[in-house]
């Protein structure tokens, strides 16, 4: 099996290296063939691994394959841990990545950096694989940083655009904040357990219980919170979410691959992987849940006022990541992974569909200049519709199961603030339905607002774009129905996730669950269903039925509108405190430490001191031998006199 795991991880890397180094010589066709072949191999083998581990209950594979470094007694290895959680992640990542690779052929068709782009996305796939397959914290961190790096490269892919450069810098810096916390968390893990291996760490997790840090803070809480700070950075939770909307400056395929389906879920995956640690701290779990709830609700609200087609989807991603985080908080890790999986499919679908619209309209992204595209782009419309229904949780679709389970899990949770989180996630359903359908209505329904020149050439996009849409639409519709029972209640993830016996949310879910079909029939009497219908109707009223109402309300609620349009002022706050603060500190250090201390005092000061000293001493050296002789004799007399009279060896004493 080891060879299979190795192939899964290395195939995209080899493809990436070949195309990255020799892309120009290979040409476009060969370049995309090589990278797609690499990812396709990974996808097929991932499915095999999924079958082997999840369906056939193979034992957990945990093995170090290469010693990275040996520092004293600390052994840092490259190793593989393949359990069911990893297997699920491998399938999701490789499948979405493959779809995006194929889609890129059509989307980047006219781009100069065609081969470079393929090299990057393959490299990203490799990085994500190393992250999910890792069996220790260090390799996890390597993958973590590697996906961050590729994300940086891809957000700034169109580097002639200034906004893209700003966005990738922002993404990188915000992620640094998260990574800093993450690294501290890893350091504490090393401090308490003396190892970075997952299995060894988790097997002695009792060691940390009851220990304290920094006075009287519980050690496990501090460690978990620091690890979660890393997750907040990568999975874009408030207040480290600011980079994700900005990352929409990159080409659409990577928005789908990195900023919706895979990289941003790394935080969710990581917390699930660390479930044995997180389960030890109720405080940490509560924080996770509250942060998730805030993100789910308030980031969704922002989606309502966005007019850029990709930004709307981006805020919806933030909101959905919030849902996953809430699920983590209430110890329903498998539900979070379940939502991660369904979300990966339908969100990749929505992004790729948005990209399809953007390509068809010659890179127009403003939804106010779209409309009525339904007839011109039937495939894109149908797949978008399916994706949207999955996103808003229409009964039967994938998102329905996962989101409903999250809401129920929060409902059953005993953590403090769970009531508030429940309110947030239920209200989130309304908002999700509202902005998703608003997007759908404004883009595909109603009258066309496309300018006439573009309208004439408007047609459905190329097969390389539409085929991935269709292939992603299928799991977006059915995967929830087929996997909910085994994944949540059938023990698919049992060998990877630990849940403390004091957390009952998942048990209660299980006792109330009958069948996937029963959930659909039952849904009509539940609150989330009517919230969703309400959101849908509201969207219909404002976007199609009475479009003037939206403006009236906007003018009435100026203040709310202002708050939403300024994105709650997070950007402003960061600018004032961090950007300007950093500038001020930089100025201060430049003037005080650099100019005054180093340049003036140390460098020029020491030179000047030597010069003055020299000028003072130089006259002594007259060049006349008899002066030197005089000094010698006088010095000799002084020394002799001292020896004779004052020293310990004095002859007079």
């Amino acid at each position: 099996m080891l060879n299979i795991y190795l192939t899964i991880v290395l195939a995209p890397l080899i493809g990436s290296l070949i195309v990255g180094l020799a892309g120009n010589q290979l040409g476009r066709k060969l370049s995309h063939s090589i990278t797609i072949l690499g990812v396709a191999i990974s996808t097929v083998l991932s499915l095999y691994v999924f079958n082997h581990h999840v369906l056939n209950d193979a034992d957990i594979f945990n093995q170090n394959i290469y010693t990275w470094m040996q520092i004293g007694s600390l052994n840092i290895s490259v190793g593989f841990l393949v359990d069911n959680l990893t297997a699920v992640m491998l399938v999701v990542v490789s499948f979405v990545s493959l779809m995006v690779h194929i889609y890129t052929i059509g989307y980047m068709h006219d781009d100069k950096g065609y081969t470079k782009f393929f090299s990057y996305i393959s490299l990203f796939t490799f990085a994500m694989f190393t992250l999910v397959i890792s069996n220790n914290f260090m390799q996890l961190f390597f993958g973590w940083e590697a996906v961050g790096l590729v994300s940086y490269l891809l957000i700034g892919f169109w580097h002639h655009k200034e906004s893209a450069i700003e966005a990738n810098l922002k993404a990188f810096l915000v992620n640094r904040v998260g990574d800093f916390g993450f690294l501290l968390g890893i350091a504490f893990v090393l401090m308490f357990f003396g190892t970075l291996d997952y299995a060894e760490t988790f097997s002695q997790k009792e060691l940390i219980v009851g220990q304290t840090l920094f006075g009287d803070f519980s050690a496990i809480t501090v460690v978990c919170l620091l690890l979660f700070v890393g997750a907040m950075g990568k999975s874009a939770q408030v207040p480290l979410h600011v980079w994700l909307p900005g990352s929409m400056e990159g080409p659409t395929p990577i928005s789908a691959l990195i900023h919706a389906a895979t990289m941003v879920t790394a935080g969710i995956f990581m917390v699930s992987r660390m479930s044995p640690l997180f389960e030890l701290s109720d405080v940490a779990l509560t924080v996770v849940m509250v942060i998730g709830a805030i993100t789910a609700l308030f980031m969704g609200l922002l989606g309502i006022v966005q007019n850029d087609i990709k930004k709307v989807v981006a805020y919806s991603t933030l909101s959905q990541l919030g849902y996953m985080t809430v699920a983590l908080g209430v110890s329903a890790y498998s539900v979070a992974i379940f939502h991660l999986m369904t979300h990966a499919f339908f969100k990749a679908l929505l992004f790729l569909a948005a990209g399809s619209v953007i390509v068809a309209l010659h890179h127009e992204q403003d939804i106010r200049k779209m409309g009525g595209l339904r007839k011109k782009m039937p495939i894109t419309y149908m797949t978008s519709l399916l994706g949207t229904l999955a996103l808003i949780g229409f009964p039967g679709f994938a998102g329905f199961y996962s989101k409903d389970m999250i809401i129920e899990a929060v409902h059953y949770s005993d953590l403090p603030f769970a009531g508030w989180a429940y309110f947030a996630v239920v209200l989130g359903v309304f908002i999700t339905a509202f902005y998703s359908l608003r997007l759908l209505f404004l883009v595909f329904h109603g009258e066309s607002r496309v300018d006439s020149h573009t309208e004439e050439h408007l047609h459905e996009t190329a097969p390389s774009i539409t085929v991935p849409l269709v292939l992603l639409a299928i799991p977006s519709v059915v995967i929830g129905y087929f996997t909910i029972e085994p994944m949540l209640f059938g023990g698919w993830l049992e060998n990877a996730i630990t849940i403390d016996s004091s957390h009952h949310a998942l048990d209660k879910l299980k006792s109330h669950f009958h069948s996937a079909f029963a959930l659909i029939t039952h849904s009509v009497v539940t609150l989330p269903f009517w919230m969703m219908i309400g959101g849908g109707i509201t969207a219909w009223v404002f976007c199609l039925y009475r479009t003037d109402w939206a403006e009236t309300i906007q003018s009435k609620l100026k203040r709310t509108n202002y708050v939403l349009n300024s994105l709650y002022g997070f950007d402003k706050l960061n600018e004032i405190i961090f950007v300007k603060g950093a500038l001020k500190i930089g100025n201060l250090l430049w003037k005080v430490s650099d100019m005054a201390l180093i340049d003036k005092l140390l460098v020029n000061g020491s030179a000047k001191f030597t010069r003055y000293l020299g000028a003072f001493i130089r006259p002594v050296q007259t060049g006349y031998v008899y002066h030197y002789a005089f000094f010698m004799i006088v010095s000799l007399m002084l020394v002799l006199g001292w020896v004779l009279i004052a020293s310990d060896y004095s002859f007079l004493s």
Binding site: I617, R618, V620, Q621, T622, G623, Y624, V625, Y626, Y628, A629, F630, I633
Partner: protein, 101 residues
């Protein structure tokens, strides 16, 4: 009978004259060489005086060594002087200040 102290006083005076000659003299280098010889002579006087009064012959043997070395030194010193005069046209002390810092 001449006492030891008389010899020592004499040699001190000669030594000091030699020393002062080195510092005070401003004319030429031959004077410095002569002053060095004076200092050596003072030392020799001391050696001989102590040797005589202390009944130890090794002091007088030292004097022979010193005389030999002094002769060699003067020979070299005079050779340097000759060369210096040839190159510079002068053996004045005021000119020989190339060691100046």
């Amino acid at each position: 009978m001449i006492a030891l102290s008389d010899y020592l006083i004499l040699s001190s005076i000669v030594f000091c004259i030699g020393l002062a000659g080195i510092f005070i003299n401003r004319t030429n280098i031959i004077m410095i060489l002569m002053c060095v010889e004076l200092i050596l002579a003072a030392v020799n006087t001391n050696f001989i005086a102590f040797s005589f009064y202390g009944s130890d012959l090794s002091g007088q043997i030292f004097v022979f060594f010193i005389l030999t070395v002094a002769a060699a030194e003067v020979a070299i010193g005079l050779a340097i002087l000759t060369l210096m005069y040839r190159n510079r046209g002068s053996i004045d002390i005021d000119v020989t200040n190339t060691l100046k810092g």
